[in-house]
């Protein structure tokens, strides 16, 4: 599979604290690559760095998307090239309807907005268009509803690389099934998915996985092997020497 995204020796410090310490991996088209690790290990920070959020500018290393170094691109420029991020806690918007919100991604990528497209995207995430298109994307939506609308907006945007940050956090079983369906949908359409999670259950949707610890990837391989290792050595966190011994064996 051809490389869609390459991360090379990425380092990020925030207020003198070293958060990312040489992150390095690649993602292929149509591949689901999971980054798993305990809370605070730098997974979400990596997601924000890849998306180019304010204050997440790496000091060294390279992020290469479709052969282009994107380190200096703004968030919207990265999005226009085909990268997007689904936040762990999607933002809510007073006075912005689901219809308007879903249309934004289409418009920004110069795609025509049609009622059919909006309805089909909502159908994909089991949201009834008639009931939701004119509702506001505000606090009146439950966490699960908001996440499903976020996924519908990704479907419409048709990104080539999607960063899903903790997609299963705070969602009900319906939304969880939708997440699985949407991951499969994107995989079939050839998009690369970076699945960021601290839950080993999510690894079943991945083709490959890596374990992140203290800002670096310490192990990469088949999802089942990474899941076993994660369960055995991260809860509670094994001491560094235990990790090293296990790794050596």
């Amino acid at each position: 599979m051809s490389k869609l995204l390459e991360i090379k020796d990425l380092h990020l410090k925030i207020n003198e604290a070293e958060i990312l310490r040489g992150m390095e991996f690649s993602l292929a088209k149509g591949e689901v690559f999971a980054l798993i690790g305990p809370n605070g290990c730098g997974k979400s920070t990596f997601a924000y760095t890849l998306m180019g959020l304010n204050n997440y500018q790496p000091q060294s290393g390279e992020m290469i998307f479709k052969g282009e170094k994107i380190n200096d691109l703004k968030i919207n420029q990265r999005a226009q090239r085909g990268i997007t991020l689904a936040w762990q806690e999607p933002a809510r918007y007073q006075g912005v309807t689901v219809r308007e919100f879903l249309s934004l991604g289409l418009k920004s990528r110069d795609k025509e907005v049609t009622e059919n497209k909006l309805r089909e995207a909502l159908d994909q995430v089991a949201i009834n268009p008639a009931q939701y298109l004119d509702r506001f994307v505000d606090r009146s939506l439950s966490g699960g509803e908001r996440k499903r609308i976020e996924l519908a907006s990704l479907i419409l945007m048709e990104p080539e690389c999607i960063i899903l940050d903790e997609p299963d956090s705070g969602v009900d079983i319906v939304a969880l099934n939708n997440i699985a369906n949407v991951i499969n949908y994107f995989k079939k359409s050839g998009s690369g998915i970076l699945l960021i999670t601290h839950s080993e259950e999510m690894l079943e949707y991945a083709d490959r996985a890596a374990l992140v610890c203290a800002g670096e990837i310490i192990r990469e391989g088949a999802p089942s092997a990474i899941s076993d290792y994660f369960k055995s050595f991260c809860f509670p966190c094994a001491k560094a020497e235990d990790c090293e011994k296990e790794a050596a064996s």
């Binding site: 998306m51 997007t84 936040w87 809510r92 918007y93 934004l104 991604g105 920004s108």
Partner: protein
Amino acid sequence: MNDYQMMVDAYKSAGGEDIFADSEVAHLVLERDQVLGKHGVEGLKVEADKISPGAVKVKITVKAGYKIKNPVHMCFGVLPKEGRQQIDMVVKIEKNAAVEVRADCVFPNAVQVQHIMDAVIEIEEGGSYIYKEHHFHGDHGGVEVIAKSDINLAARGQLVTKFDLLKGRVGKIDFDYEAVIAEAATVEMLARISAQADDQVKIREAAHLQGKDARGILDSKIALKENARADIYNELTADAAGAMGHVDCTEIIKDQAIARAVPIVDVRHPEAKITHEAAIGSVDSTQLQTLMARGLDEEAAADVIIQGLLND
């Protein structure tokens, strides 16, 4: 083209509906002190008379028990670059009557225009008055609006006021609304304003929940940029058992704009409750960056957030 047609055209350009030929829709059209059009319907009386140069007295009466089917449309304005319009308005909603008024105030060419509204509103028991006021002041910032309302809402009555000025310049706005609310009556006062350049917005809205189980909401949402300034004084008092209310003021600022919110909450009965919330700041960065991750540039993303806030 005559003044009437010019006013109607200005009204339509500002987003007003084309209703003036509909005999089932009551309306009133005023240009400065000229009464250009006036129409009532059964149960609703519209009176308008020039009382002095630049000033008109308007009286709206809805007879007891009448629920007026179609919203009443009012179009006020000044067409030339300079001028003055003073409206002394008396609104009387009799017992169990109901009406909705949509007022469009248009000053499309204003360079130096003053619009003064002095209203006395009386809503009798069980009456309902919904007043939606939309302003368009043009691009010069040459409009000064001074509006004062004294409102008396009787038992089980309803009052909703919604003011919006979302396009073009504001110029200067100075509102002072005061409402006394009786038993089981409800009041909602909403303001949505987008200000820029050296626009100045001053709003004082006060509602006094004096009757048992009275309800009140004062909600202002203001977006400011460049050198605009807003001072919002929302005052809600509760003096009776079961009286409840909420004061909410949200202001988003950019550039050198200045925003000030002064919520006053005064509760004088142990079974009454009032809450308040005020937020002033720039556009939320998570909201902004989420939209940018959909491909919008920063300015377009901020516009979506601000317009959403003002449309809420």
